[in-house]
Each structure stands twice: as structure tokens, then as C-alpha cells.
């Protein structure tokens, strides 16, 4: 019940945008229509659309949850919400097919040497839906609103953004208290990067129901929990590479359908024309419907950086001993877990925070990551168990106690039971399994009162996103407690988001260093070193990358071939977030 099907999963629902830093190395050329490759994993199919485009028509899209709100500065936004927001709002910066951040509503974006001052020029021909013209002033007027918003204030704090000033009609200057090369990522994400009409935002509740942006679609009706409809923005600035005005569709509506089965059924029965999913099981069912039952649908699958798995709380014995973490990781068969998740042939096992499709992916890390090696794991664990100095204070030879906790999602429940059986098979682990609902689960992991330490042990969690690595990785490496922060001379730099409470000065410094340069090779090296340290110290573990998909009726085209203003192809549909401006119905 509830939309727990999606919510209790992990973090990616909450915030996950596509991002990659200015990358040199292009991602592997996307090719085959996703799905039935030999290896079986999801691949991302982004290619130039062949058919002639057509105007008109309406489509409805089944999404997995309602957007809590459509205020970029205020509402935390998950995948379904992004689908809607992107219809109304344009982002200042977007990501292209190669994973580079490129200007979108901006025409250009440059920084000074130490990345503390960023200067942006806006497009000139843009108006908001309410007729107000977009200007540099609009952007700087947005800033106080963003500072007051729940989502905006956090993002501003994370980016160390201190001021946004209109330094010309169309020129905006961003000043950061501490320079960061990944700042474009911030401008590509909703809380700061999505452009809304600041005057209209004064009425916060009203805005959520009737958002005003510059996007390809204009809000028409918003019936919470049921349907949100957008109609064509006739004044939209964007065009396709051939100069045709966008968007093609007359209208698009989004319908939250929390139940995975129903959502797929809704597509198969024509109740909706498109649907998204972040579940392997649903992708599997959709593939079956297409391949075996001849359903007339196209599946756009995407294998993102997002990787499922979990954390060991290294401040709690026995997880404070790396041998235990390493042993448990060796004993954990990702293949088996993926099968339990229904993702065999869909999801790839994880070895790092980046998927093999990502420019940040490192072969070296993949090699170094503790593979499934049951006997190896048992050997290490035996060593710990027989260590008279063992950290959990139990008698020599006694099994360790592990509390394994996931939100009560059937999929996660299945996977945790696989882990449990593997651990138990060693005879060295007593496993207790607990399920708390999402909020409790998060609350426990965050810790709150006791300095964000938490008294959790082994928790299901999800890591990473298609954003610039710094977005997710840096907060996760910051000191988890005030003492540690004090000790390294950075008092106050305590991160609640360091869920595993693992702190390594070298990794932390590498992460900080990676934000001080925009040289891809340097940054790649730094992140690789961090991932190698992960492979060595094992504060987290993986249970496979997250495959996502958007399924559409097969006459709906264009989802995989939208363009950034430069005419290049855009990133596609990461995390089941579609860009709908260039979608059309083939008649």
C-alpha cells in the first residue's frame, strides 16, 4: 500500500539528477535498442530520430508518485516530479549525450580561476508563461526565494553560493564562498537551476498548483494525486535542430500510479500512453509483455550510476573492524541478490558509484572491489571471530551479531533475505532482520540527536546518481562527528550524510581536491582513488545498479532524441526522467 512501492527504496527517489562534469572522454557510443543484448544488461539508446516529426496530439504519462509540489526551490523532487517540472521549467544548464554540462537557458557560463565567481549570460528571447520577460534580474530575484526554500537553502549551502547578482540585462554573476568546479551541476538541478518567475512565486501554495516557468509546456490543470495536465507553450523559445518550433505535442498529462503492476497495465491497456519505472521487476514484465505478448510498446531503458546496496555503520562493533566489512562483502552474492530483485538480465552488479556506461567508471576499481568469494569471506571472518581482541567484546569463536535493516518493500525484503541466508550459511553470523518504514529508516540512519552517528548497523541504501560525482560523494565523505571534524581542523564541517560514519582524511581531501579543478583526468584520478579506498575499507556494499525505464506506446517517438540548444543530443532519459518537448506522435 501507499506509494511505499517506490518511496521506501532509497535515496534516488529523493534527489538524483543527471550530471557529469565537463568531460573529455565521451561515453561509450550508445547504440542498440535497449533490451536484449547478449549480456542482458540495460543499455541506453540515444539516437537521432529517423521519422518525420508531427505536431499535435496529447499523451498521458503514468508516473510512480505524485510530485509533492512543483516549486523548484521548495519541494524535494524525485523522478516523477522531474518529469513534470521539466515540462514547465527550463534549467540553466543541461547535460548532453556525452555527459557534459552545457548551457540551456543560459547562453554561456564561465568561471574565474578558483571557481569562486561564475558569470552567466542568458538567452535573450525568452519569456515566462505569464508574459514576463526573462532577464538577469529574474535570476537574482529568484535567489532570496531559493534561500528561504527548503530545497533551495540546502542546495545553496552545499554549493557555498553566497550571492547572485544581475550584472547586466542578461548577465548574472554567481559568487561562491568556496570555489567549486562542479558548480554547473548546481545550475542543472532543480533547487537552484530551474528558472521560475519570481513574482509569481510570492504565493507559494498557489505557485505549486500553477507553476510559472519558461518551459515548453504551460500548466493547465493540477489535480493532486490524480492528474496534472500541461498544454503547449505557443511562445516557447526552443526549436528542434531543423528550426521547427517546440514542443510538438498539444498537451501532456502526468498521472501518479504508485502500483507498479497497475502502472504497466495502464500502459498495456491504453489508459496511459507512457509510463516510467525504477524497478527491475517491472522492466522485466514490460519486456515480457513486449516480446512474448506482442504488446505494441517501446521501452527506453537506462542503466544509471545509481547503485543499490547498503552501508555498514563503522562506529558500531563489529563493523568497526574492516575485516568484518570485507568478509561480509565477500559473502554477499550480488548475482543472487539481483535475481531476488527480479533484475537478472537487467541490472549489473556494482563495484563503485559509477556504472560501466559512465565516464567515471574505473576498471581498476572494479578489479579491486571484493568479489563474491564465500570461502574467502569466511576465512577473514574466522580470523576476526577468533581474535581475542575482537572489537565486539564477544568471546572467541562466537558468531558476530548483525542487524540488517531495510524498508518494508517486498523487493528489498527478498534481497535482504538472500543476504541473510548467505551470512547465516557461514555459521559465523547471527542475523536479525528489521524493517522500518522509510521515514524511520532514514531517521535511524541520519542519527539526529547523537551527532548524526546513528545506532544502525547494516542498512539498505542507495548510492550515487548521474550528477557530478561531487554532488553525492563529497557530503558522504565529510566528518560524521564533531570530534572528527575537530580533529582534522575543520570544526563544524559535520555531515549527516556520511551515513556509514566512515571517515578517511585521504578520501576526504581527494574529494575536496576534485572540486578545485575542472580537469577531467585529474578529477577522474581523484575519484578513482576514493573508490579504490572504498574497495579497500568497504564502508558500503553494493547489490547492483539501478535500471530504469520509460515505456511508451510505439507510435510515440522522440524520447531518446532531444537536443540541447547547440544541436547536440541531450543525455536522454536518466532515472526515468523524460524530456517531453521533442516527443511526437507518429501517425
Amino acid at each position: 500500500g501507499g506509494d511505499d512501492d517506490s518511496a521506501p527504496a532509497d535515496t534516488p527517489e529523493e534527489t538524483s539528477e543527471e550530471a557529469e562534469s565537463p568531460a573529455e572522454e565521451p561515453a561509450e557510443e550508445p547504440a542498440v535498442e535497449a533490451g536484449d543484448e547478449a549480456e542482458g544488461d540495460v543499455d541506453t539508446a540515444i539516437e537521432e530520430e529517423e521519422s518525420a516529426v508531427a505536431y499535435g496530439g496529447s499523451i498521458s504519462v503514468g508516473v510512480e508518485a505524485e510530485a509533492t509540489g512543483l516549486r523548484p526551490w521548495e519541494d524535494t523532487c524525485s523522478s516523477p516530479c522531474y518529469n513534470m517540472m521539466i515540462a514547465v521549467f527550463d534549467k540553466l544548464v543541461e547535460m548532453d549525450v556525452n555527459g557534459n554540462y552545457v548551457p540551456y537557458l543560459a547562453e554561456s557560463l564561465t568561471s574565474n580561476e578558483d571557481f569562486t565567481v561564475w558569470t552567466m549570460t542568458l538567452r535573450s528571447d525568452v519569456t515566462f508563461h505569464n508574459g514576463v520577460e526573462l532577464s538577469a534580474q529574474s535570476i537574482s530575484d529568484m535567489f532570496p526565494i531559493q534561500q528561504a526554500g527548503a530545497a533551495g537553502s540546502s542546495a545553496i549551502a552545499a554549493a557555498n553560493l553566497v550571492s547572485v547578482e544581475a550584472t547586466g540585462d542578461l548577465e548574472v554573476t554567481y559568487t561562491l564562498s568556496e570555489g567549486g568546479s562542479a558548480f554547473p551541476a548546481t545550475l542543472s538541478r532543480a533547487p537552484v537551476g530551474m528558472v521560475f518567475e519570481p513574482a509569481a512565486a510570492a504565493d507559494s501554495e498557489g505557485f505549486s498548483m500553477a507553476p510559472v516557468g519558461t518551459g515548453p509546456f504551460v500548466i493547465d490543470a493540477r489535480d493532486l494525486d490524480n492528474e496534472t495536465t500541461f498544454v503547449r507553450n505557443d511562445e516557447y523559445w526552443g526549436t528542434d535542430p531543423d528550426g521547427n518550433a517546440l514542443p510538438y505535442l498539444d498537451s501532456i498529462s502526468f498521472r501518479p500510479i504508485p502500483d507498479e503492476g497497475t502502472r504497466l497495465d495502464a500502459l498495456l491497456s491504453g489508459t496511459v500512453n507512457a509510463m516510467q519505472t525504477l524497478r527491475q521487476g517491472t522492466i522485466r514484465d514490460a519486456r515480457n509483455a513486449r516480446d512474448d505478448d506482442g504488446a505494441d510498446i517501446t521501452l527506453y531503458e537506462f542503466q544509471g550510476n545509481n547503485v543499490g546496496g547498503g552501508m555498514y555503520n563503522v562506529l558500531v562493533p563489529p563493523f568497526d573492524d574492516v575485516r568484518v566489512r570485507r568478509a561480509l562483502t565477500h559473502m554477499n552474492s550480488q548475482e543472487q541478490v539481483i535475481e531476488a530483485l527480479g533484475g537478472t538480465g537487467i541490472s549489473l552488479p556494482g563495484t563503485q558509484w559509477f556504472s560501466p556506461d559512465s565516464p567515471w567508471w574505473s576498471e581498476k576499481v572494479a578489479e579491486a572491489w571484493p568479489k563474491f568469494d564465500f570461502d574467502g569471506g569466511v576465512a577473514i571472518l574466522t580470523e576476526y571471530v577468533n581474535d581475542p581482541e575482537r572489537s565486539d567484546g564477544k568471546a572467541v569463536g562466537e558468531p558476530i551479531d548483525v542487524e540488517l535493516s531495510c524498508p518494508p518493500d517486498p523487493t528489498l525484503i527478498a534481497s535482504m533475505q538472500v543476504v541473510e541466508q548467505l551470512y547465516t550459511a557461514s555459521g559465523l553470523v547471527n542475523v536479525t532482520m528489521t524493517n522500518y518504514d522509510q521515514q524511520t529508516h532514514i531517521g535511524i540512519a541520519l542519527g539526529g540527536e547523537n551527532g548524526f552517528v546513528g545506532n544502525h548497523q547494516q542498512h539498505c541504501w542507495r548510492w550515487s546518481s548521474d550528477d557530478d560525482p561531487s554532488v553525492n560523494l563529497n557530503p558522504a565523505l565529510a566528518p560524521p562527528t564533531a570530534e572528527i571534524a575537530e580533529a582534522i581542523g575543520l570544526p563544524g564541517v559535520v555531515s549527516p550524510l556520511n551515513f556509514s560514519n566512515w571517515f578517511s582524511p585521504t578520501a576526504f581531501q581527494a574529494a575536496v581536491a576534485a572540486t578545485k579543478t575542472d580537469d577531467f583526468a585529474t578529477r577522474y584520478g581523484l575519484y578513482e582513488s576514493i573508490m579504490l579506498e572504498f574497495a579497500d575499507q568497504v564502508p558500503v556494499y553494493y547489490s547492483g545498479h539501478t535500471a530504469t525505464a520509460i515505456g511508451v506506446e510505439s507510435n510515440i517517438l522522440g524520447l531518446n532524441s532531444w537536443h540541447v540548444p547547440s544541436g547536440d543530443l541531450g543525455i536522454g532519459f536518466p532515472n526515468a526522467e523524460g524530456r517531453w518537448a521533442e516527443v511526437f506522435i507518429d501517425s
Binding site: 521506501p8 503492476g261 509483455a289 531476488a340 570461502d375 541466508q421 548467505l422 528489521t434 518504514d437
Partner: protein
């Protein structure tokens, strides 16, 4: 028929729970939590079982998403239903039955207060109450779940008991007991409650059916008994994800649930009918 099924379930549950070596282990019950495709320590290899499999000789009712024997899980799942039914019925009868009998007997302000409380609980959306109660407890073992469901079934029992107690209290043997100078407490325990009990027991059968379903719903919300304990509810919930691949995995536990509820109702009806002697006039 009905009682035969119940006996089977109860026996299965107890057998599964207590001692699978009865009859020299001749009964073919597998380990309900054993993943047949899981890692086998001895051989150092993975098992040959298949997840979400159909019926076969090895697995009479197939296997679930992690290749466990569905038949064994259903038999073991009966244990949870059994305990939940017993505990909640006990809660209901002991607390609800007592309160209802009491207020039906003494009437007056006590009755107003108790029945108002009952109304409040009934007016409260059950889901919120259930979620809140379940979340408050740190551990969610079988006992806690049963107790929570039990607490929630108290109002209904109270109502039934009160209605009956009202009727019993107006019977003449209660007045007779007063007339011989029996103290109210003794009247309550000796005269009223024994006469309210049979109806309450008949109601228990119907309520038990309901309780089995409630446990299923709790499992559906992921809030029932801690894993890996199988319950019919959590089996349905887990198999639901793969319903497009193998419907049977949803059907089997549903069927067990259905048959049990059906049987309980039938047994309840039987008890009820036994007390009814007159026939229809039509």
C-alpha cells in the same frame, strides 16, 4: 470438511513449529526459509533450485522469488495465523469480553465511559492506529503483532459482550442471585460471564477469520511479523511483484487464507446454529 481443514492447518503449524522430526521426519516438509538456489556451504556452490517456479515433485506448490518451497512456507505460515488468532481472541475475550459483560451488567456511568471509549477507537481510522501501534514497538515479533491486533479487536468484542450481557443481566436468574444476597462481583463472574461466553466464542470464529485477513493486510504494508518468518500475508505481498510471471505464487497463500477463513466461518456458523433450534416459518 471445514474442521478437517482447520485441523490440518493447526496440526501443520504446530508440527512445523515444534518438531519436524515427528513420525521420524516422514512428513515431507522442507525448511521454509531455505533458498534452494542459495549458496551451499558444503559444496561451495549455489543450489540448483529455481525461483518463481511452478508446481513440481520437488516443490509441490512451486517456489517463491528466492526459490524457497512454497508448500513449506504455507504450512509454516499457518503458525502465525494460529498465534495471531489465539492471542487476539484471548485479548478480545479477556479484556473486551470482561469489559462488555461488566458494563452490560452494572450499566450507569461506567457503561457510558467504556462505550464512549469504544466508539472513539472505532471512529479512529484503523490504519492510523495500526501503523502507529506497530511503529511504536521496537521489535515486531509475533507476540507484539498479535497483541496489537488483539488490542484493535477489543472494541468489537466489547460490543458483542455488552449486548449479550444486557440480555443476560435482565434474565431472572440474575435477579434471583441478587435476591439470595449474592455480591455483584460474584454475580458477574458466576452468572453473567458464563452465559456471555458461548456467544463470544461463536463470535471469535468470525472474528478469527477477520484477524487472519488483518494480519495479511499488515504484511501487505510490510508491517507484520519480522522476517524471514513466513506468513500468508507476506507471501502474498512478496509474490505480488511477480504476479505477471507466476500467478500461482499469489494464489496458493490466498487459497490457504481463503480456506481457513471459510472454515473458521463455517465452524462459527455451526456453533451458532447449534444454539438455534427453531426452523424457518417459510
Amino acid at each position: 470438511m471445514a474442521s478437517l481443514w482447520l485441523v490440518l492447518v493447526v496440526f501443520g503449524a504446530i508440527y512445523a513449529k515444534l518438531d519436524t522430526s515427528w513420525f521420524g521426519g516422514a512428513l515431507p516438509l522442507q525448511d521454509p526459509n531455505f533458498q534452494t538456489n542459495g549458496f551451499i556451504r558444503e559444496t561451495g556452490e549455489f543450489g540448483t533450485g529455481q525461483p518463481i517456479e511452478g508446481m513440481s515433485g520437488a516443490h509441490w506448490l512451486g517456489t517463491d522469488a528466492i526459490a524457497r518451497d512454497t508448500f513449506a512456507r504455507i504450512v509454516h505460515g499457518g503458525w502465525v495465523s494460529l498465534v495471531v488468532v489465539v492471542v487476539s481472541a484471548t485479548c478480545g475475550i479477556v479484556i473486551g469480553g470482561f469489559l462488555g459483560s461488566l458494563v452490560g451488567f452494572v450499566r450507569g456511568r461506567t457503561e457510558t465511559v467504556v462505550m464512549a471509549t469504544v466508539d472513539v477507537i472505532l471512529a479512529f481510522p484503523a490504519l492510523v492506529l495500526l501503523l502507529a501501534l506497530v511503529s511504536i514497538f521496537e521489535v515486531r515479533n509475533l507476540f507484539v503483532i498479535s497483541a496489537v491486533i488483539g488490542v484493535l479487536s477489543i472494541p468489537a468484542y466489547t460490543r458483542v459482550a455488552r449486548a449479550n450481557s444486557l440480555a443476560v443481566s435482565s434474565r431472572e436468574f440474575v435477579t434471583a442471585a441478587r435476591a439470595i444476597g449474592t455480591k455483584p462481583r460474584r454475580i458477574l463472574f458466576r452468572e453473567v460471564i458464563p452465559n456471555v461466553l458461548p456467544t463470544l466464542l461463536a463470535y471469535t470464529m468470525v472474528a478469527a477469520a477477520f484477524v487472519v485477513v488483518v494480519e495479511g493486510s499488515l504484511s501487505f504494508l510490510g508491517l507484520s511479523v519480522q522476517l524471514p518468518t513466513p506468513t500468508w500475508g507476506n507471501m502474498i505481498n512478496q509474490a505480488r511483484r511477480d504476479i505477471k510471471i507466476n500467478v500461482a505464487q499469489v494464489i496458493w497463500p490466498s487459497l490457504a487464507l481463503t480456506l481457513t477463513v471459510l472454515s473458521l466461518n463455517q465452524v462459527g456458523d455451526f456453533f451458532q446454529q447449534r444454539r438455534e433450534v427453531r426452523g424457518s416459518n417459510l
